[in-house]
Protein backbone atom coordinates (compact mmCIF):
# COMPACT_ATOMS: atom_id res chain seq x y z
CA UNK A 1 0.00 0.00 0.00
CA UNK A 2 1.29 3.43 -0.98
CA UNK A 3 0.65 5.83 1.93
CA UNK A 4 0.52 8.73 -0.55
CA UNK A 5 -2.49 7.11 -2.22
CA UNK A 6 -4.38 5.85 0.81
CA UNK A 7 -8.10 6.30 0.28
CA UNK A 8 -7.87 6.61 -3.51
CA UNK A 9 -10.32 3.70 -3.88
CA UNK A 10 -13.07 5.83 -2.37
CA UNK A 11 -13.02 8.15 -5.40
CA UNK A 12 -15.76 7.02 -7.78
CA UNK A 13 -15.11 6.56 -11.50
CA UNK A 14 -11.35 6.87 -11.11
CA UNK A 15 -8.79 4.46 -12.54
CA UNK A 16 -5.39 5.55 -11.33
CA UNK A 17 -2.67 4.28 -13.64
CA UNK A 18 -0.30 2.36 -11.40
CA UNK A 19 2.13 -0.53 -11.74
CA UNK A 20 -0.63 -3.14 -11.46
CA UNK A 21 -2.65 -1.64 -14.30
CA UNK A 22 0.52 -1.00 -16.27
CA UNK A 23 1.61 -4.64 -15.98
CA UNK A 24 -1.81 -5.98 -16.92
CA UNK A 25 -2.11 -3.79 -20.02
CA UNK A 26 1.56 -3.53 -21.02
CA UNK A 27 1.06 -5.19 -24.40
CA UNK A 28 -2.02 -3.09 -25.19
CA UNK A 29 -0.32 0.13 -24.12
CA UNK A 30 2.73 -0.74 -26.21
CA UNK A 31 0.48 -1.25 -29.23
CA UNK A 32 -1.12 2.15 -28.63
CA UNK A 33 2.17 3.87 -27.87
CA UNK A 34 3.60 2.56 -31.16
CA UNK A 35 1.34 4.99 -33.05
CA UNK A 36 4.12 7.55 -32.57
CA UNK A 37 5.70 5.62 -35.45
CA UNK A 38 4.23 6.53 -38.90
CA UNK A 39 4.69 2.99 -40.24
CA UNK A 40 2.67 1.56 -37.37
CA UNK A 41 -0.06 4.13 -38.00
CA UNK A 42 -0.14 3.22 -41.70
CA UNK A 43 -0.40 -0.50 -40.94
CA UNK A 44 -3.28 0.07 -38.50
CA UNK A 45 -5.11 2.26 -41.01
CA UNK A 46 -4.66 -0.18 -43.88
CA UNK A 47 -5.11 -3.45 -42.05
CA UNK A 48 -6.08 -3.23 -38.36
CA UNK A 49 -6.32 -7.01 -38.02
CA UNK A 50 -2.72 -7.41 -39.20
CA UNK A 51 -1.67 -4.71 -36.71
CA UNK A 52 -3.46 -6.57 -33.88
CA UNK A 53 -1.82 -9.81 -34.93
CA UNK A 54 1.64 -8.25 -35.05
CA UNK A 55 1.15 -6.81 -31.54
CA UNK A 56 -0.24 -10.11 -30.23
CA UNK A 57 -3.36 -8.50 -28.76
CA UNK A 58 -5.92 -10.77 -27.09
CA UNK A 59 -9.42 -11.13 -28.49
CA UNK A 60 -10.78 -8.86 -25.72
CA UNK A 61 -8.18 -6.20 -26.45
CA UNK A 62 -8.89 -6.30 -30.19
CA UNK A 63 -12.62 -5.90 -29.63
CA UNK A 64 -12.17 -2.86 -27.38
CA UNK A 65 -9.82 -1.19 -29.87
CA UNK A 66 -12.00 -2.05 -32.87
CA UNK A 67 -15.04 -0.54 -31.12
CA UNK A 68 -13.10 2.49 -29.83
CA UNK A 69 -14.60 1.59 -26.47
CA UNK A 70 -12.77 4.25 -24.43
CA UNK A 71 -14.60 3.43 -21.22
CA UNK A 72 -13.76 -0.28 -21.42
CA UNK A 73 -10.17 0.43 -22.48
CA UNK A 74 -9.56 2.68 -19.47
CA UNK A 75 -11.15 0.17 -17.11
CA UNK A 76 -9.00 -2.57 -18.60
CA UNK A 77 -5.76 -0.69 -17.96
CA UNK A 78 -5.02 1.52 -20.94
CA UNK A 79 -3.26 4.78 -20.09
CA UNK A 80 -5.20 7.82 -21.25
CA UNK A 81 -2.03 9.08 -22.90
CA UNK A 82 -1.57 6.03 -25.11
CA UNK A 83 -5.33 6.02 -25.82
CA UNK A 84 -5.06 9.65 -26.90
CA UNK A 85 -2.87 8.49 -29.82
CA UNK A 86 -5.61 6.09 -30.94
CA UNK A 87 -8.09 8.94 -30.58
CA UNK A 88 -6.10 11.20 -32.92
CA UNK A 89 -5.58 8.39 -35.41
CA UNK A 90 -9.30 7.59 -35.41
CA UNK A 91 -10.42 11.21 -35.62
CA UNK A 92 -11.97 11.22 -32.14
CA UNK A 93 -11.39 14.35 -30.03
CA UNK A 94 -10.56 14.40 -26.31
CA UNK A 95 -13.99 15.86 -25.41
CA UNK A 96 -15.63 12.98 -27.32
CA UNK A 97 -13.46 10.44 -25.49
CA UNK A 98 -14.26 12.05 -22.14
CA UNK A 99 -17.99 12.11 -22.93
CA UNK A 100 -17.89 8.39 -23.75
CA UNK A 101 -16.09 7.56 -20.49
CA UNK A 102 -18.76 9.49 -18.58
CA UNK A 103 -21.51 7.63 -20.38
CA UNK A 104 -22.73 10.77 -22.16
CA UNK A 105 -23.09 11.86 -25.75
CA UNK A 106 -20.70 14.57 -26.88
CA UNK A 107 -23.62 17.02 -27.02
CA UNK A 108 -24.62 16.22 -23.43
CA UNK A 109 -21.03 16.63 -22.26
CA UNK A 110 -20.55 19.95 -24.06
CA UNK A 111 -23.59 21.35 -22.26
CA UNK A 112 -21.70 20.89 -18.99
CA UNK A 113 -18.73 22.97 -20.24
CA UNK A 114 -18.07 26.70 -19.89
CA UNK A 115 -17.12 27.27 -23.54
CA UNK A 116 -18.50 24.43 -25.69
CA UNK A 117 -16.99 25.93 -28.83
CA UNK A 118 -13.41 25.81 -27.54
CA UNK A 119 -12.44 22.58 -29.28
Amino acid sequence: MNAQLEGIESLPGTYLFDLERSAKALRLNRFLHDFVNPEKRALFKENPEAAFEQAGLTKEERTMVRNLDWRALIRYGASFFTLEKLGRLSGVSNPAMVAHMRGETLEEFLKTRNVPGAR
Binding site: T14, T112, G117, R119
Partner: protein, 300 residues
Protein backbone atom coordinates in the same frame (compact mmCIF):
# COMPACT_ATOMS: atom_id res chain seq x y z
CA UNK B 1 27.49 33.17 -12.00
CA UNK B 2 24.17 31.86 -13.25
CA UNK B 3 21.15 33.17 -11.39
CA UNK B 4 17.43 32.53 -11.32
CA UNK B 5 15.50 35.69 -12.13
CA UNK B 6 11.99 34.30 -11.96
CA UNK B 7 9.59 31.43 -12.44
CA UNK B 8 6.57 30.54 -14.51
CA UNK B 9 3.81 28.06 -13.76
CA UNK B 10 1.82 27.08 -16.82
CA UNK B 11 -0.60 24.46 -18.07
CA UNK B 12 0.65 22.34 -20.95
CA UNK B 13 -2.57 20.86 -22.31
CA UNK B 14 -2.14 20.23 -26.09
CA UNK B 15 -5.08 22.47 -27.02
CA UNK B 16 -2.99 25.50 -25.99
CA UNK B 17 -0.56 24.64 -28.79
CA UNK B 18 -3.40 23.79 -31.17
CA UNK B 19 -5.09 27.14 -30.55
CA UNK B 20 -1.78 28.82 -31.37
CA UNK B 21 -1.21 26.77 -34.54
CA UNK B 22 -4.76 27.43 -35.74
CA UNK B 23 -4.28 31.17 -35.07
CA UNK B 24 -7.28 31.41 -32.73
CA UNK B 25 -6.02 34.67 -31.20
CA UNK B 26 -9.14 36.60 -32.24
CA UNK B 27 -11.62 33.79 -31.72
CA UNK B 28 -13.71 34.86 -28.67
CA UNK B 29 -13.60 31.27 -27.36
CA UNK B 30 -9.80 31.50 -27.16
CA UNK B 31 -8.98 35.19 -26.70
CA UNK B 32 -8.95 34.95 -22.86
CA UNK B 33 -6.24 32.29 -23.11
CA UNK B 34 -4.01 34.38 -25.37
CA UNK B 35 -4.57 37.53 -23.29
CA UNK B 36 -3.56 35.62 -20.18
CA UNK B 37 -0.18 34.77 -21.62
CA UNK B 38 0.61 38.20 -23.08
CA UNK B 39 2.12 39.73 -19.90
CA UNK B 40 4.32 36.65 -19.48
CA UNK B 41 5.54 36.80 -23.09
CA UNK B 42 6.25 40.53 -22.63
CA UNK B 43 8.18 39.89 -19.43
CA UNK B 44 10.28 37.23 -21.16
CA UNK B 45 10.90 39.52 -24.15
CA UNK B 46 12.07 42.21 -21.76
CA UNK B 47 14.16 40.09 -19.40
CA UNK B 48 15.63 37.91 -22.16
CA UNK B 49 16.60 34.88 -20.07
CA UNK B 50 19.33 32.73 -21.57
CA UNK B 51 17.83 29.49 -20.32
CA UNK B 52 14.48 28.13 -19.21
CA UNK B 53 14.76 25.15 -16.87
CA UNK B 54 11.56 23.32 -17.75
CA UNK B 55 9.90 20.80 -15.41
CA UNK B 56 7.60 18.88 -17.72
CA UNK B 57 6.18 15.43 -18.21
CA UNK B 58 6.33 13.19 -21.20
CA UNK B 59 2.94 11.78 -22.25
CA UNK B 60 3.97 8.20 -23.05
CA UNK B 61 5.48 9.61 -26.23
CA UNK B 62 9.26 9.46 -25.86
CA UNK B 63 9.27 7.21 -22.83
CA UNK B 64 7.19 4.07 -22.47
CA UNK B 65 6.16 2.09 -19.41
CA UNK B 66 8.85 -0.52 -20.05
CA UNK B 67 11.25 2.08 -18.61
CA UNK B 68 9.65 5.20 -17.27
CA UNK B 69 12.10 7.57 -15.56
CA UNK B 70 10.99 9.29 -12.37
CA UNK B 71 13.24 12.29 -13.05
CA UNK B 72 15.28 12.72 -16.23
CA UNK B 73 17.44 15.67 -17.29
CA UNK B 74 18.02 16.58 -20.95
CA UNK B 75 21.71 17.37 -21.44
CA UNK B 76 22.11 17.61 -25.24
CA UNK B 77 22.41 20.66 -27.51
CA UNK B 78 19.18 19.88 -29.32
CA UNK B 79 15.92 17.98 -28.88
CA UNK B 80 13.72 17.20 -31.88
CA UNK B 81 9.96 17.80 -31.75
CA UNK B 82 8.16 14.54 -31.02
CA UNK B 83 5.64 12.86 -33.31
CA UNK B 84 2.80 12.18 -30.88
CA UNK B 85 0.74 10.20 -33.33
CA UNK B 86 -0.27 12.78 -35.92
CA UNK B 87 2.99 14.00 -37.38
CA UNK B 88 5.40 16.57 -36.01
CA UNK B 89 4.07 19.93 -34.80
CA UNK B 90 5.55 22.76 -36.91
CA UNK B 91 7.69 24.38 -34.21
CA UNK B 92 11.47 24.81 -34.10
CA UNK B 93 13.46 22.05 -32.42
CA UNK B 94 14.34 22.84 -28.83
CA UNK B 95 17.84 24.13 -28.18
CA UNK B 96 19.47 22.69 -25.09
CA UNK B 97 22.24 24.14 -22.94
CA UNK B 98 24.74 21.29 -22.53
CA UNK B 99 27.12 23.34 -20.38
CA UNK B 100 24.57 24.18 -17.71
CA UNK B 101 22.74 20.85 -18.04
CA UNK B 102 25.88 18.74 -17.55
CA UNK B 103 26.85 20.87 -14.56
CA UNK B 104 23.34 20.36 -13.17
CA UNK B 105 23.64 16.59 -13.62
CA UNK B 106 26.86 16.54 -11.57
CA UNK B 107 25.47 18.91 -8.96
CA UNK B 108 22.14 17.07 -8.58
CA UNK B 109 23.76 13.65 -8.26
CA UNK B 110 26.25 14.91 -5.68
CA UNK B 111 23.30 16.52 -3.92
CA UNK B 112 21.72 13.02 -3.69
CA UNK B 113 19.28 13.44 -6.58
CA UNK B 114 20.35 10.46 -8.71
CA UNK B 115 18.76 11.80 -11.85
CA UNK B 116 18.64 10.01 -15.23
CA UNK B 117 19.99 11.90 -18.20
CA UNK B 118 18.89 11.83 -21.83
CA UNK B 119 20.29 13.22 -25.05
CA UNK B 120 18.64 14.15 -28.35
CA UNK B 121 15.35 12.46 -27.49
CA UNK B 122 12.22 14.04 -28.95
CA UNK B 123 10.10 16.18 -26.61
CA UNK B 124 6.31 16.37 -26.81
CA UNK B 125 3.63 18.95 -26.00
CA UNK B 126 4.69 18.85 -22.34
CA UNK B 127 7.19 21.54 -23.39
CA UNK B 128 6.11 22.86 -26.76
CA UNK B 129 2.44 23.55 -25.95
CA UNK B 130 3.16 26.38 -23.50
CA UNK B 131 6.41 27.37 -25.23
CA UNK B 132 4.67 28.97 -28.23
CA UNK B 133 2.70 31.13 -25.78
CA UNK B 134 5.81 32.13 -23.85
CA UNK B 135 7.92 32.80 -26.96
CA UNK B 136 5.21 33.54 -29.58
CA UNK B 137 7.58 34.93 -32.22
CA UNK B 138 9.78 31.86 -32.40
CA UNK B 139 7.79 29.93 -35.00
CA UNK B 140 8.05 32.76 -37.49
CA UNK B 141 11.69 33.40 -36.59
CA UNK B 142 12.47 29.74 -37.09
CA UNK B 143 14.20 29.35 -33.72
CA UNK B 144 13.54 29.78 -30.02
CA UNK B 145 15.15 32.90 -28.52
CA UNK B 146 16.73 30.92 -25.69
CA UNK B 147 17.80 27.48 -24.58
CA UNK B 148 15.91 24.92 -22.52
CA UNK B 149 17.11 22.51 -19.90
CA UNK B 150 14.23 20.02 -19.78
CA UNK B 151 13.62 17.99 -16.64
CA UNK B 152 11.10 15.20 -17.16
CA UNK B 153 8.99 14.12 -14.18
CA UNK B 154 6.93 10.94 -14.06
CA UNK B 155 3.38 11.94 -13.24
CA UNK B 156 1.82 9.17 -15.35
CA UNK B 157 2.60 5.85 -13.71
CA UNK B 158 2.25 5.56 -9.94
CA UNK B 159 4.29 5.56 -7.79
CA UNK B 160 5.10 9.12 -8.85
CA UNK B 161 7.34 11.34 -6.71
CA UNK B 162 5.78 13.00 -3.68
CA UNK B 163 4.92 16.72 -3.69
CA UNK B 164 7.70 17.30 -1.13
CA UNK B 165 10.24 15.45 -3.27
CA UNK B 166 9.38 17.66 -6.24
CA UNK B 167 9.89 20.77 -4.09
CA UNK B 168 13.24 19.44 -2.89
CA UNK B 169 14.25 18.75 -6.49
CA UNK B 170 13.56 22.41 -7.20
CA UNK B 171 15.75 23.44 -4.26
CA UNK B 172 18.55 21.23 -5.56
CA UNK B 173 18.10 22.74 -9.03
CA UNK B 174 18.55 26.21 -7.51
CA UNK B 175 21.80 25.12 -5.86
CA UNK B 176 22.92 23.62 -9.18
CA UNK B 177 22.12 26.74 -11.20
CA UNK B 178 23.71 29.10 -8.68
CA UNK B 179 26.96 27.14 -8.67
CA UNK B 180 27.39 27.39 -12.45
CA UNK B 181 30.17 29.89 -13.17
CA UNK B 182 28.88 31.35 -16.44
CA UNK B 183 26.77 34.53 -16.22
CA UNK B 184 23.37 33.28 -17.26
CA UNK B 185 19.86 34.52 -16.61
CA UNK B 186 17.68 31.53 -15.83
CA UNK B 187 13.91 31.21 -15.48
CA UNK B 188 12.40 28.05 -14.01
CA UNK B 189 9.14 26.79 -15.48
CA UNK B 190 6.77 24.31 -13.86
CA UNK B 191 4.13 22.86 -16.16
CA UNK B 192 0.84 21.00 -15.94
CA UNK B 193 -2.62 21.28 -14.45
CA UNK B 194 -4.63 22.80 -13.23
CA UNK B 195 -7.64 20.65 -12.31
CA UNK B 196 -8.64 17.95 -14.79
CA UNK B 197 -9.26 14.24 -15.00
CA UNK B 198 -9.04 12.22 -18.21
CA UNK B 199 -10.11 8.75 -17.10
CA UNK B 200 -13.20 6.96 -15.92
CA UNK B 201 -16.68 8.21 -15.20
CA UNK B 202 -15.12 11.06 -13.21
CA UNK B 203 -13.42 12.35 -16.39
CA UNK B 204 -14.20 16.00 -16.98
CA UNK B 205 -13.86 16.78 -13.28
CA UNK B 206 -12.76 20.33 -12.43
CA UNK B 207 -12.49 22.32 -9.22
CA UNK B 208 -11.99 26.03 -9.68
CA UNK B 209 -12.14 26.71 -5.94
CA UNK B 210 -9.17 24.40 -5.38
CA UNK B 211 -7.32 25.82 -8.39
CA UNK B 212 -7.59 29.32 -6.92
CA UNK B 213 -6.38 28.11 -3.55
CA UNK B 214 -3.44 26.37 -5.24
CA UNK B 215 -2.54 29.55 -7.15
CA UNK B 216 -2.53 31.42 -3.85
CA UNK B 217 -0.57 28.86 -1.82
CA UNK B 218 2.07 28.29 -4.47
CA UNK B 219 3.19 31.88 -3.95
CA UNK B 220 2.47 32.43 -0.29
CA UNK B 221 2.81 29.09 1.46
CA UNK B 222 4.31 26.33 -0.71
CA UNK B 223 5.03 24.35 2.47
CA UNK B 224 1.29 23.87 2.92
CA UNK B 225 1.28 22.26 -0.53
CA UNK B 226 4.25 20.01 0.15
CA UNK B 227 2.54 18.74 3.30
CA UNK B 228 -0.34 17.38 1.24
CA UNK B 229 -0.41 13.81 -0.09
CA UNK B 230 -0.89 12.81 -3.72
CA UNK B 231 -4.33 11.41 -2.91
CA UNK B 232 -5.34 14.91 -1.76
CA UNK B 233 -4.23 16.34 -5.10
CA UNK B 234 -6.20 13.65 -6.96
CA UNK B 235 -9.31 14.24 -4.87
CA UNK B 236 -9.15 18.03 -5.20
CA UNK B 237 -7.79 18.43 -8.73
CA UNK B 238 -8.38 15.12 -10.52
CA UNK B 239 -6.00 12.27 -11.37
CA UNK B 240 -4.28 14.27 -14.12
CA UNK B 241 -4.57 17.56 -12.22
CA UNK B 242 -2.21 16.06 -9.64
CA UNK B 243 0.61 16.82 -12.09
CA UNK B 244 0.74 20.31 -10.52
CA UNK B 245 3.41 18.82 -8.29
CA UNK B 246 5.70 20.00 -11.13
CA UNK B 247 4.81 23.57 -10.13
CA UNK B 248 6.21 22.71 -6.71
CA UNK B 249 9.54 21.85 -8.33
CA UNK B 250 9.51 25.31 -9.96
CA UNK B 251 8.59 26.95 -6.64
CA UNK B 252 11.32 25.06 -4.81
CA UNK B 253 13.85 26.65 -7.16
CA UNK B 254 12.67 30.15 -6.25
CA UNK B 255 13.61 32.16 -3.19
CA UNK B 256 11.44 33.07 -0.21
CA UNK B 257 11.25 36.66 -1.44
CA UNK B 258 9.73 35.86 -4.81
CA UNK B 259 6.57 37.73 -5.81
CA UNK B 260 3.75 36.61 -8.11
CA UNK B 261 3.29 39.49 -10.52
CA UNK B 262 0.69 38.00 -12.86
CA UNK B 263 -1.77 35.14 -13.09
CA UNK B 264 -4.47 34.10 -15.47
CA UNK B 265 -7.04 31.29 -15.34
CA UNK B 266 -9.31 29.97 -18.08
CA UNK B 267 -11.45 26.85 -18.01
CA UNK B 268 -13.20 26.44 -21.35
CA UNK B 269 -13.48 22.65 -21.70
CA UNK B 270 -11.88 19.82 -19.69
CA UNK B 271 -8.61 21.28 -18.40
CA UNK B 272 -8.22 24.43 -16.34
CA UNK B 273 -5.57 26.48 -18.13
CA UNK B 274 -3.50 28.71 -15.91
CA UNK B 275 -0.34 30.72 -16.10
CA UNK B 276 1.43 32.48 -13.25
CA UNK B 277 4.56 34.61 -13.33
CA UNK B 278 6.94 34.95 -10.39
CA UNK B 279 9.71 37.51 -10.17
CA UNK B 280 12.75 37.33 -7.92
CA UNK B 281 13.69 40.50 -6.03
CA UNK B 282 16.23 42.34 -8.12
CA UNK B 283 19.71 42.37 -6.75
CA UNK B 284 20.38 46.01 -5.91
CA UNK B 285 23.31 47.44 -7.83
CA UNK B 286 26.39 47.57 -5.61
CA UNK B 287 25.96 50.69 -3.49
CA UNK B 288 28.56 53.41 -3.74
CA UNK B 289 30.81 53.54 -0.65
CA UNK B 290 29.30 55.80 1.98
CA UNK B 291 32.59 57.03 3.30
CA UNK B 292 35.28 58.43 1.15
CA UNK B 293 38.22 56.08 0.81
CA UNK B 294 41.07 56.98 3.11
CA UNK B 295 43.48 57.23 0.29
CA UNK B 296 42.22 59.33 -2.55
CA UNK B 297 43.38 58.15 -5.92
CA UNK B 298 45.85 60.56 -7.36
CA UNK B 299 44.54 62.69 -10.13
CA UNK B 300 46.49 62.34 -13.33
Amino acid sequence: MARIIGGIGTSHVPTIGLAFDRKKHDDPDWTPLFKGYEPVARWLAEKKPDVLVFFYNDHATTFFFDHYPTFALGVSAQFPTADEGMGVRPVPPIKGHPGLARHMAHSLVNDEFDISVFQELPIDHGCNSPLTMLWPDAVQAGEWPGALVPIEVNVLQHPVPTPLRCYKLGQAVRRAVESYPEDLKVVVVGTGGLSHQMNGERAGFNNTEWDMKFLDLIERDPRALTAMRLVDYVRLGGTEGAEVIMWLAMRGALSGGVRKIHQSYYLPMTTAMAVALFEEPTVAPRAAPKVAPLVQPKAD
